[in-house]
């Protein structure tokens, strides 16, 4: 029971106070029973505010606190730590959500939001009055992780976690590792290609015995909870055994009569049904895509490593945590957007990157040599004004990649000039140096705004890019281009079926949503599921690796001790009223109830290590003899009384 309660109502900058009259909330609750202190605070989570709360608890011997601020998913632990630091049991603290379920949900109704906040705070005070001091208990957890996606984010996380002693299952939907990075040539600020970097990482990965890699693999189900997940993985066969004679395999590839557009080269070339994207790709064996294969059997004549009858497998894994590193898709312009697919020399930035890899001494597209390139920026990103689309975010990496590509093209082919049609160049940080280098090289930069995007038109055999250039007082300029490159950004994965299985929230932009972008940037509201890399929003390689190592640390911190601290909010039996009937035992999914004899009477008893505090046993008791600590009748009903007033 708490009788000396401190109540703090947070402005959250103006996130709350723009719509909720926080001073009125304070005035309305300061005389509530048990309230000793009532204050408003600009940011309850700020160090200075935390210190003030700690001082209040100590100076006034408070035995309970209520903080009305954001969702408990964000700061429950923060404020429990505040309570602990002040010597108060953390379970004598109650957080009231007046932001996500108050000011933001009712920003159209400030009066309603304020009234609601008053009721919610009163309910929180009511609950605090009946709160009890509790201690954590622990459950065993598996020190193993499922990492979804074997691009640079997934591979780096796998290595890091494996080196810290965690068992790693790394799965990749494609049959080769490396993700997008393996498609890129020389990387900005490195003298190393994407595939070289991936090869280096892969070799390290193979040295670690506690990493198991599954390619052609995807999650099809998830059960359990943090520390003890069970997942099912579907593994599509590659139809080529790993040990095979390279010469025979090459003959088999040559003999394959099927040709389909090659997604690895963004459809600039074709590939066979049996294929490998490049020689040094990993795993070493090629794959047969059975959606393309016509089962003609030609390949079987040259290679006995091929097995067209391999079957899809489903395996089950038991893991303690999940890290999602599923990356991004490049934005593909709509037909006709800046001439894409309607004018034959208009391609995307990603296609240019592959084109440069495919052309050695001179740059050709459709048999025509390229002497100048026009880059049009922000295609599929920053879609405001007269630029149609819902992608309002900046894709962060594309300015740098476009300018870097211009430098690569300049160095590789000598005689190519580059023109850039930008909306302001965003080569932030050290990347600014390449912008300067491109300017020194002689690249020309034009500037357009969102209400006057450039146009790409065909005039006879010529392709003309026209722009109203901001730098020259909106004068319309027209230039002829051999090649138009649409600098297209990042979008969320088109096939994001894993999201539906894991139930990780996505934001308005369609990327995976973290709990808090600044304070908890790799955690999700699903305990034990972490996100990293471009799956949660546009990132360059550096930022991706920063994010993935951060997530790996969080995974390790969660499961490395093979036990997880759990809330002490477990079931409790009223020994006086319980008359053993066994209904609670039938209802319990965790075998957490046993029958004991107490004072000569058979009653139910809770096995604390098994109980997960779900409360499923409580409504089935015919004499109402079970409660969940923290959700007792008196606590819930005290809240209902306050909310109903």
């Amino acid at each position: 029971m708490s009788n000396k309660i401190g109540v703090y109502i947070c402005h959250c900058g103006n996130n709350i106070s723009e719509y909720v009259d926080v001073e009125r909330v304070r005035d309305s609750i300061e005389n509530e029973k048990g309230v000793h202190i009532a204050r408003t605070t600009m940011f309850a989570c700020a160090d200075s505010a935390q210190t003030e709360i700690i001082d209040d608890i100590k100076d006034n011997a408070l035995d309970g606190i209520v903080i009305a601020s954001c969702s408990p998913k964000l700061h429950l632990q923060t404020f429990r730590e505040v309570a602990k630091r002040a010597g108060l049991n953390p379970y004598n603290y109650v957080q009231v959500n007046i932001r996500e379920q108050g000011s933001w949900a009712h920003s159209d109704d400030p009066e309603g939001a304020t009234e609601k906040a008053i009721s919610l705070v009163k309910a929180g005070i009511g609950r605090t009055r009946f709160s009890k001091s509790l201690e954590h208990f622990t459950i065993s957890a598996k020190n193993s992780v499922l990492i979804i996606g074997a691009g640079i984010a997934g591979m780096r996380a796998a290595i890091e976690l494996a080196e810290m002693g965690t068992r790693v299952y790394l799965i990749e939907r494609e049959h080769f590792v490396g993700g997008r990075l393996s498609q890129w040539g020389v990387l900005c600020s490195l003298n190393e290609t994407g595939k070289e970097l991936i090869s280096r990482i892969y070799k390290r990965l193979k040295e670690l015995d506690n990493i198991t890699l599954f390619t052609g693999a995807e999650v099809i189900s998830k059960a359990g909870s943090s520390g003890n997940f069970e997942v099912e993985i579907k593994i599509t066969p590659r139809h080529v055994k790993t040990k095979c004679d390279p010469e025979g395999l090459q003959k088999a590839i040559d003999a394959c009569p099927v040709e389909v557009p090659d997604e690895f080269n963004f459809y600039l070339t074709n590939r066979k049904a049996i294929f490998k994207n490049f020689d040094s790709e990993f795993p070493e064996a090629p794959v047969i895509n059975m959606e393309n294969c016509n089962r003609c059997g030609e390949c079987l004549k040259y290679c006995d490593s091929i097995d067209l009858d391999q079957k899809t497998e489903i395996i089950k894994l038991e893991i303690g945590a999940i890290q999602v590193c599923t990356g991004f898709d490049p934005y593909e312009p709509k037909e006709g957007e800046f001439g894409y697919k309607t004018i034959d020399n208009v391609i995307t930035l990603q296609q240019l990157k592959r084109l440069v890899e495919l052309n050695e001494k001179q740059l050709f597209l459709n048999g025509k040599q390229i002497h100048n390139i026009a880059f049009i920026y922000c295609v599929g990103s920053r879609q405001f004004g007269k630029i149609n689309g819902n992608n309002q975010y900046c894709s962060r990496y594309c300015c740098t990649v476009a300018i870097h590509s211009s430098l690569i093209v300049g160095k590789k082919y000598n005689d190519i000039s580059c023109l850039h049609f930008t909306r302001g160049v965003r080569t932030y940080g050290k990347q600014e140096l390449i912008y300067d280098e491109a300017s020194q090289k002689g690249d020309i930069f034009f500037h357009f705004d969102e209400n006057s995007p450039p146009t790409v038109e065909k005039s006879g055999n010529k392709t003309i890019v026209k722009v109203n250039d901001v730098y020259t007082d909106q004068i319309e300029l027209g230039v002829e281009a051999d090649l138009v490159v649409l600098v297209s950004g990042m979008i969320p994965r088109k096939d994001n079926s894993v999201v539906a299985i894991l139930k990780t929230p996505v934001g308005r932009d369609g990327f995976l949503n973290e709990i808090h972008p600044k304070l908890r940037p790799v955690e999700t509201v699903i305990d034990g599921v972490f996100i990293s890399g471009a799956a949660q929003g546009p990132k360059n390689i550096e930022e991706t690796v920063n994010s993935t190592l951060s997530a790996a640390s969080k995974v390790n911190a969660l499961i490395c001790n093979e036990e997880i601290k759990l809330e002490p909010t477990i079931a409790t039996i009223n020994e006086e009223t319980c008359e053993w009937c066994g209904k609670c035992l039938e209802a319990c999914p965790f075998n957490a109830i046993s029958q004991i004899t107490h004072n000569g009477k058979k009653i139910a008893s809770i096995i604390e290590t098994n109980c997960k505090g779900c409360g499923i046993c409580t409504p089935v008791c015919p004499v109402d003899a079970i409660d969940i600590i923290g959700y007792t009748n008196v606590e819930i009903e005290s809240m209902i009384i306050e909310l109903a007033k």
């Binding site: 998913k73 959500n97 996500e100 949900a105 699903i526 409504p619 809240m639």
Partner: protein
Amino acid sequence: MTNPGPKILVFSTEKISDPAIDLAGLLKMHYQARAYTIIVPCSSAIKPRWVMFAFEQGFDGVFIAADGTDCPYDTACTDKTAQILTNTQKQMKERGIDPARLKMAAICSVCSEPFVKYIKSFSEYLSQNN
């Protein structure tokens, strides 16, 4: 004075439906301010006496934002929550309370839009049948 509209008590679940309600706020998806949430661990843990108590105290409706098939505790959660609903509605009938004033729907952790739609339509029903 204008009618402020019906008062709804929402039972949400800590890991599944409450994140969806938070997400609705984050996305500024508006719904009636007189919908108040109490978080429980699992929708199969809601006691009928709490629902009946809410009606006694003057709530116009109770909405159970259930875990459904996403329940992290029990694969039979949907059936168990439905059983709680049935038992409670029986008690409501006995006390002359319209059973439709208790509503249940499965709300997954990203079901912010369905949640808002349910609350709006439930609120409308309660207003029309007050």
